[in-house]
Each structure stands twice: as C-alpha cells, then as structure tokens.
C-alpha cells in the first residue's frame, strides 16, 4: 500500500457525446507527497482540467480513483479548494463577504465569530488585499480578484490546493507578482498544490515536478520532469541558471518538439469541457487541431 498523501491510480474517464462514448483520460497514475507543488502541462484539450476536476470531485472517474490521506475522494469538498481561472468570485458579495462565505462554511462552530473575522482578515492580508474589504469584485482589477480567489481557498485550509490556470488571464507583470506571492505563501504554509498552466516559465519556476500530458483522446501522463532547483527561487537569478534553462528547454521540447507523432482530433470538441476551455481553444487550439478525420498534423504544416 502506497503511503503517499494524494494518489491517483489508474484514473480514466469517459464522456457521453453525440458520437457515442468518448474516452478523455486513460490510466492516469500520479502520487503526491505532502507539501509538494506539481504542475500539469500539455496541449489544449488534453484533459488537464478534467484531471483537476476529478481530484476536486466535480467529475467522477469512470474507472480508477483518487485517494487523499487514505480516504477515497468522490465528491467535492472544501478540503480540495479550487482556484478557478476566471476568479469566480460572487459578484454580489464584497471581497470580505466572499472569503467569509468560505470561512463560515468550514469554521462555523469551530471558531467564534471574532476568531472567524480575524481569520478572514488574516487571509486577505496574506494576499495583500486587506485594503479592499468592502469593494465589490467589479470594482477591483483582475489580478486583485485572483488574489481574493486565492485567499478564499487558503482560508478553508485545504489539504490540496487545486489551481486551474490561475494566472492565465492576467498580464505578464501581474502574473509575475502573483507567482511570487504564491511561492511565498506556499513556502510558509507548505500547501500541497496541483496547478494547471500553459506557461512554461511558470511551470519551471513554481513546481517540484512537472507532469506532461499527451494529447487526447485517451490522454495520459507521458513524462514527469522533476525540478530540482533550490528554494526560495528568484526569477531574476534563475533566468541565467543553467539547470533552469535546461528544464525550460525540456518542457518546450516536449510541447513543440516531436512533430512526427500524429495528432488526433482534439478532445475539447467533444467533451463537456469544451465550454470551459473556450478561451484556450481560440488561442492555441487551431494550431494543433486537425479538422477532418484522423489526418496527422504534419499534413497540415
């Protein structure tokens, strides 16, 4: 019996689609240690979000399963908080109330009212958002919204923090700031994190391991790249670091290198996730998608 903190074993999932059963994921095996930071990287539609959703309990695996601290996961719960790509704050609640909703859910009965208030403020301070307690999400910037989204997740003290392209919609400067904040928070709290990203630098900078996924259908983990860079990591120093450059190149090589491998029609066209992945499909999908049948990508290039 494996003693890892979080374990995905032989996870596969099938969706019903108009064209019959569609197999999105197949035989995903992954185990995480406590406090480990792992990135999922792969082309659009390869099922990264689906993996995350299965861990979150939002999707149920067709076969295999997820075990967290020795218990099987089969429904969503606050022990696996999700930071969504588009912040997903409730627009009718203020910054404070958005976090309060999560805190009340998890700590009502465990902490007194004033303790809960302190805890909410503490978490907002962690992400430098204590100045905007009474603002509505529509009154703050995208980066700030994402900070609040992170504070909301942290406030639930989750066993695993799941991040679905958390910084994908932000500009480069804001993204860098938030990456640094996230590194600092993770160093302090030792969260176990699974993060989906499209950003190669981000993956190398933040992760302990980078999980590279093959293209769908029946996507699976094709390579795991350990990142043995010392922490705390500094983005400026790393830019010239040999190991960093090598890792970065390895990821790029995986993503763009071997073009001889035939690419089958992208998964997003058929799955539920199509709607969720709309944004990425506009930007990156076209490059990798083959429009008619099973023609390999090389034929298009």
């Amino acid at each position: 019996m494996a003693t890892s903190y979080l374990e995905l074993s032989q996870v596969g999932i099938e969706f019903d689609s108009r064209h019959g059963k569609f197999r999105a994921l197949d035989d995903i095996n992954l185990s995480l240690d406590r406090g480990e930071f792992v990135s999922l990287i792969g082309h659009s539609g390869c099922g990264k979000s689906t993996v995350l959703n299965i861990v979150a309990g939002l999707h149920e695996a067709t076969e295999g399963g997820v075990i967290l601290e020795g218990k099987e996961v089969n429904r969503p719960g606050p022990d696996r908080a999700v930071v969504f790509q588009n912040h997903s704050l409730l627009p009718w609640l203020t910054v404070y109330e958005n976090v309060e909703l999560a805190v009340n859910r998890v700590f009502k009965g465990l902490k007194s009212k004033s303790e809960r208030r302190d805890w909410i403020l503490h978490n907002l301070r962690r992400v430098n958002m204590e100045h905007a307690l009474d603002k509505l999400p529509s009154e703050i910037s995208g980066g700030m919204k994402q900070r609040v989204g992170i504070a909301r997740c942290l406030s639930m003290e989750p066993k695993v923090l799941l991040m679905d392209e958390p910084f994908g919609a932000l500009d480069a400067l804001t993204r860098a700031q938030l990456q640094d904040s996230l590194m600092a928070i993770q160093a302090e709290l030792g969260n176990t994190v699974i993060m989906i990203t499209h950003d190669v630098d981000e993956a190398v900078l933040l992760s302990d391991r980078i999980i590279m996924m093959s293209n769908g259908p029946a996507a699976t983990i094709s390579k795991i790249l350990p990142v043995n860079l010392d922490r705390p990591r500094d983005r400026l120093a790393l830019a010239e670091d040999r190991e960093f450059v090598r890792l970065r190149h390895a990821v790029l090589e995986f993503l763009y290198g071997n073009k001889s491998e035939p690419v089958t029609p992208a998964a997003t066209a058929l799955t539920d996730d199509a709607a969720l992945d709309k944004r990425e499909s506009i930007t990156t999908e076209k490059k990798y998608r083959v429009t008619s049948g099973m023609r390999p990508l090389t034929a298009m290039a």
Partner: protein, 330 residues
C-alpha cells in the same frame, strides 16, 4: 490670443449656464417627449370633433379635463356626506346612551356609492393582492423547478398549457369555486376581492415563474462549481448563489407579471361587476349620459398612468434589490 479669449467669454458663460440648466432639466430628452405629447393632444382633439356616437360627440381633451374636475368634486362631496353621516350617527348614539346607559347602540357603515378615487384604490388593492399571491407561489416554485430538472419536466406541460389562457375564461370557474368554498360569517376579505385577486394571480403567475426558472437554470457554471467545491448546504446555496444570480431575470418576470395583472384586473372587474376601475367603466357605459364617454376616457387615462407608475415602482425596487447596479434598467 487674449483677444479671442475675451471674445469667447460670454459664449462660454452661456454654455455653462445652459449646461447647468441641462443638468437640472434633461432638456434634450424631455423636448421630444413634450413635442410627442402635444402632437398627440392636437390629433386627439381634431379627431374627437369628427366622431359622433349615440352618446354624443367623442370626448376631446377639454371635455375629459372637465370630467376630471367633476370626478374630484364628486369625491369631495361624497366624503363630506360620509363625515356628516357619521357625525349624525354619533350624536344619535350619544343621546341614546345618555337617556339609557344600558341601551344597545348600532354603528352602521356609510353605504354611499364609491367614488372614482375609491374605485382606483380598490383596483390597486386587488392587483396588489393578486400579484402578491402569484409572486409568493411563482418565485419559490420557480427556484425549485430551476434546481430540479425532473420537476421542471413534470411541470412544463402544465405551464405551457395554462400560460396563454385569458383571465375571462378563468373568471366563471373562480367565481363558482370561491362562492362554494369561501364561506364565512365575517369574511376578512370581500368575496369580490378574492375572485378578482385569484383571477389576477392565475394570469400573472406565469411570467414570473418562467423567468425565475430561466434565471436559476442559467446561473454561471463557475459559480455553481464554487458552491460545489465549498460543499455549501442547499439553503445557503439558494440564498447566497442562486437567488442573487437569478434576481435580474426574476425582476423581468415580475414586471411582466404586474403589467399583465393590471390589464387582467380591469377586464375581470368589468365582467364580474366586482368593484374597481373596470366596474366604473362598465357602469358609465350602462349609464349612457352625455358625460359617460368623457368619464370613461378619464378612467382609460388613469389606468394607463397607474400601469406606468407600477412599472416604475418595480424598477425602483429592482435597483434597490439587484446587485448589478450597472445593468441597464428600462
């Protein structure tokens, strides 16, 4: 440069002044509305002069205005009469009690004919009752149907079947059922009120119900996922996520409902001879005096104005309740 500067000064001052005036009175948007109204009044006045009916000439604006004043006068007279009646009654009773302290005194209500204003308030009261009843049913049922697809599929044929039914078809059934079941010595509500209110409710149930369902079903999937991840209890999920998200759609439904309800009420009152504006119109029509048409026209305008005011009232309420202050509310 300085020359042109001094030369433009008066112009600037004028512009500033007119700008200030513009802020006080939205001249630019108000002017077309006023022109529209004036053109309408002119058209009405000339057209009315050319239409002759068996009850005399079709009333123009002047005749209608006359009747507005006449109706106001009648109202005041009726109130004076009522006050006088109660005074006389009190005096009589006091005298009776002075003679014999154990005597039984009867207090009778004034039974004068309701005035135009009385009818207006009866109608408002009735529409509020019917609309309130419909809202109390439609909003919770809509939320439940939005949450439970099975229930929605079960109710949908019924909704589709009854949605297009005219109030006048319901009215006889409602009247018979109410007179059979609503039997009480001292009823809290008048039977006629119950009849009209239920008829109104039956017709203004649907827009609120349908829009609430749509509002709940179309809540952003990400927000639903947030709620699922937190594993919020159903009651919190409804209060904190579903209802706020569905409020804009709900209000669209409520406004449609209230507008329908107000139209339905007038028809129902007319047909059932239940007190209210509809009855006023019918009575005047039956009365057939030379002023009748003008008085009906007063009622028509009052119905329109009240309908407009009710819609504005809902809009104000929506502004109060809805979180989305930037939404365009029309």
């Amino acid at each position: 440069m300085s020359v042109t500067g001094t030369m433009t000064q008066p112009d600037q001052r004028f512009e500033q002044a007119s700008g200030r005036l513009g802020k006080l009175l939205p001249v630019k948007t108000l002017a077309p509305s006023i022109i529209g109204l004036v053109v309408f009044l002119l058209f009405w006045a000339t057209a009315a002069g050319r239409i002759d009916t068996s009850l005399g000439q079709f009333p123009g604006p002047a005749m209608v205005w006359e009747q507005v004043q006449e109706l106001a006068k009648e109202h005041r007279r009726s109130r004076e009469k009522q006050a006088a009646f109660y005074k006389r009654q009190e005096k009589r009773n006091a005298a009776k009690l002075a003679k014999d302290p154990s005597a039984e005194v009867k207090i009778r209500a004034y039974t004068g004919q309701p005035t135009f204003l009385d009818q207006v308030f009866t109608s408002l009261y009735t529409v509020a009752g019917g609309f309130g009843l419909a809202t109390l049913i439609a909003v919770p049922v809509g939320i439940i149907c939005g949450l439970n697809r099975g229930l929605f599929l079960a109710l949908n044929p019924i909704i589709q079947l009854f949605k297009p039914v005219s109030p006048l078809a319901w009215l006889p059934l409602v009247t018979m059922v109410v007179s059979a079941t609503y039997v009480s010595e001292d009823p809290f509500f008048e039977k006629s009120f119950v009849n009209s209110a239920i008829t109104v409710a039956l017709c203004c149930l649907w827009p609120t119900l349908v829009n609430t369902i749509v509002g709940v079903v179309s809540v952003d999937k990400d927000l639903i996922n947030v709620s699922r991840v937190m594993a919020l209890p159903t009651s919190t999920h409804i209060r904190k996520i579903l209802v706020p998200a569905a409020v804009p759609m709900m209000f669209t439904g409520l406004r449609l409902s209230l507008a329908t309800g107000w139209m339905v009420l007038i028809a129902a009152e007319m047909l059932a001879q239940n007190p209210g504006l509809g009855k006023f119109v019918w009575d005047e029509f039956q009365n057939g005096s030379s002023q009748s048409l003008s008085r009906i026209m007063v009622a028509v305008l009052a119905i329109g104005l009240i309908g407009f005011a009710l819609d504005k009232l809902m809009l104000l309420l929506q502004r109060r309740v809805s979180w989305d202050k930037n939404a365009v509310l029309r």
